[in-house]
Structure formats: structure tokens, C-alpha cells
């Protein structure tokens, strides 16, 4: 499903009028692609057929293609959100370790009584969605004084904060508890809209609300 979704996302990008018009290069971190480049299509044959029969097909045949993400696959277990989480969890480049921890945590989630009986991946997705903040406060110096200014978040930033909060909450566990067990605990808690991460999110929102008088300093 995820693979299909990624393919569809790629297609949406292709068909956006701005790209087709051949706009300007938009640099993203470490990579600058000419807007003529298209997102790599998956290897799903049905999807490819659909693309090739679309009205853009002739145009697309002559478009250069961006390098595929090394982790991307058409496996039913492929989930970009999970990969992002593993990458954020990863320390010192040890991805296999991070992956193992997450998989063990998912195993624990499955065994938990209050785990909703969901697929652990669904629990995870729900947990991230519940933990995602809408606002954050940033420290800005205006007129010689530092203010805590509430600002809106981009989707990427909000997602990162949610994942980082979960990882940090796990880091604060009591001594004998294992990382993956506590990660499972936090994920289940967050998916049930309770627990430390959710509390932290609410505190962040409360702080933003308390400083709402300074919101206009962002652009002052």
C-alpha cells in the first residue's frame, strides 16, 4: 500500500503545473535537482501501466529521473514514516541496531494488553499522529530582550518533533527497563492519547498559548 502511495505521490508531483512549466530549481538539503527530473516510479507493473497510458506518458519518457531512496521498496512492509523514525532513532550510523530496537518494540506492542489489538504499525502511525504538535515556541531577541515566540510548524518539522519527543521520553526510563520495552510503552500510550509524550505536547501548546501576545514578533 505504502509503495502505491509513494508512486501516487510521485505522480502528483509530476502532474503539478509548476513542474511542467519548467520553473526554477528548488534546493533541498544536499540535493539540487533540475525541475525536469521526475520522482522515481515504483516497480509495480500495474502502476507503471497506468502511468504509461496516461496523457503525460509521452512527455515522461524523455524526463530524467531522480535517484531512488536506497531504502525504498515495494514490500508491503515498506513505510516511509517508519523509516524516518528509524533514521531519527539511529545513533552513530548503526541502522541495523535502530531497526532491531523498533522491531522488538513492535513485538512488545503486540503483547501489550492496552495495545488496542492493532497492527503495531497502525499503533505507531496513530502514536505519531497524536504526538504531533501544531505550534512550538522559539526564542527570539527583540529590542534586547529574549521572547518565547509561538510559531507554526511545517509538516516535516512537526513530524520530527513528535518522533524526537517519543525517543527522548524513552531515554528517561527507569534503569532496569529495556529500550524497546519502554519504546513500546510510549507508543501504546501515545496511541491512546495519554502518557508523557502527549503531556509534553500539551505543555508545548500551553506555553505557546501563554506567549500568544508575542506571536507578531516573528515578523517584526
Amino acid at each position: 500500500m505504502a509503495a502505491v502511495r509513494s508512486v501516487l505521490r510521485g505522480l502528483q508531483k509530476i502532474s503539478s503545473p509548476r513542474l511542467l512549466a519548467g520553473g526554477v530549481c528548488v534546493p533541498s538539503r544536499n540535493a539540487i535537482y533540475n525541475p525536469r527530473y521526475i520522482e522515481p516510479l515504483g516497480t509495480d507493473r500495474d502502476q507503471l501501466k497506468e502511468v504509461l497510458s496516461s496523457p503525460d506518458a509521452e512527455e515522461l519518457q524523455f524526463r530524467p529521473v531522480k535517484a531512488a531512496i536506497s531504502d525504498a521498496s515495494n514490500s508491503i512492509f515498506y513505510d516511509p514514516l517508519l523509516l524516518k523514525f528509524i533514521n531519527i532513532l539511529m545513533r552513530k550510523g548503526d541502522k541495523s541496531h535502530a531497526t532491531k530496537l523498533v522491531h522488538k518494540a513492535f513485538y512488545s506492542v503486540k503483547l501489550m494488553k492496552d495495545g488496542n489489538g492493532l497492527n503495531p504499525l497502525d499503533t505507531f502511525t496513530l502514536a505519531i499522529r497524536n504526538a504531533t504538535p501544531v505550534l512550538e515556541t522559539v526564542k527570539l531577541k527583540r529590542g534586547g530582550i529574549f521572547y518565547q515566540v509561538p510559531v507554526a510548524l511545517s509538516a516535516e518539522r512537526a513530524r520530527f518533533i513528535a518522533m524526537n519527543w517519543i525517543i527522548e521520553a524513552v531515554g528517561e526510563r527507569e534503569k532496569p527497563t529495556r529500550f524497546h520495552d519502554q519504546l513500546a510503552r510510549e507508543l501504546v500510550d501515545a496511541s491512546n492519547n495519554v502518557g508523557r509524550v502527549i503531556k509534553r505536547k500539551q505543555e508545548a501548546h500551553k506555553e505557546a498559548e501563554a506567549n500568544k501576545a508575542y506571536a507578531h514578533y516573528r515578523y517584526a
Binding site: 526554477v24 501544531v134 505536547k201 501548546h205
Partner: protein, 133 residues
């Protein structure tokens, strides 16, 4: 001038006649630089001046306070804030891209300092002033 000031200055430094009768003669004007506008402006940072999404943010705060800071209570407000913020970001990105172009395009209303310089280089002010004169 204080009464004790003469005590603090050395005799060689000061002309007492000057002090009691300060120079009231008008200063003669001297044209140091040519009296015309230069063909360049100083470089300025591109700034986001809009106070973005404040209204949306305030509605969200009101809603959150009402719903005891449960984000699930205000999906509409959150969506409104997010779309507003996204639009603003896209717009400012486009603005930056437009600003990257050195040669000004006729449709641009706000010029960056770079673009103003490019225009001034093409059409120097002194020629314009000659025409006016």
C-alpha cells in the same frame, strides 16, 4: 561652557579670543561629492514583512483553551493554520526565487536591491536627469 573649563585646557591648545567670541561667520559650502543621486543602492536583506497566519493562530488558541488543549478537538482550526502556513512558505519561496533573478522582470512590483542595481546600471540616473533638465 562651564566657568572652570579654561582651567582644564592647556594654554597652547586654545585661543582665548576664539572662546569669548565664537566664530559666527557662516560656513562656506563646499561640494564634497557631486550633487546627484548615485547609480546604485545599498544591498538589503530580503525580509518577510507579512505578519503571517496570526488570525488563524489566535482562533486555534481560543479553541485549544476551550477544549482543554486536546488537539483532537480542533481539527478545523489546525488544518486552517497549517494550510495558511504552507501557503505563506510557498509564497516566500517563490519570492526568493524571483529575487534570485538579477535582471528585473517587468511584472515584478517590489524590486530587490540587486534588481534595482541592475536597472540603474541599464538606465543610469545622470542620463535621465539630463533629459529632465
Amino acid at each position: 561652557m562651564r566657568a572652570t573649563d579654561p582651567l582644564n585646557v592647556q594654554k597652547t591648545d586654545v585661543d582665548y579670543a576664539q572662546m569669548s567670541f565664537p566664530n559666527n561667520k557662516p560656513i562656506k559650502f563646499r561640494e564634497v561629492a557631486p550633487m546627484q543621486l548615485r547609480d546604485r543602492v545599498s544591498l538589503k536583506r530580503l525580509r518577510d514583512t507579512e505578519r503571517a497566519c496570526l488570525a488563524e493562530m489566535m482562533t486555534l488558541f481560543t479553541c485549544l483553551a476551550k477544549k482543554d488543549f486536546e488537539t483532537s478537538g480542533c481539527p478545523k482550526e489546525i488544518a486552517a493554520l497549517n494550510t495558511c502556513y504552507k501557503d505563506i512558505r510557498d509564497e516566500s519561496m517563490a519570492k526568493k526565487q524571483r529575487a534570485l533573478q538579477q535582471a528585473p522582470v517587468s511584472s515584478i512590483r517590489e524590486l530587490t536591491s540587486h534588481q534595482a542595481n541592475a536597472l540603474l546600471k541599464k538606465f543610469p540616473l545622470r542620463h535621465l536627469m539630463k533629459k529632465v533638465r
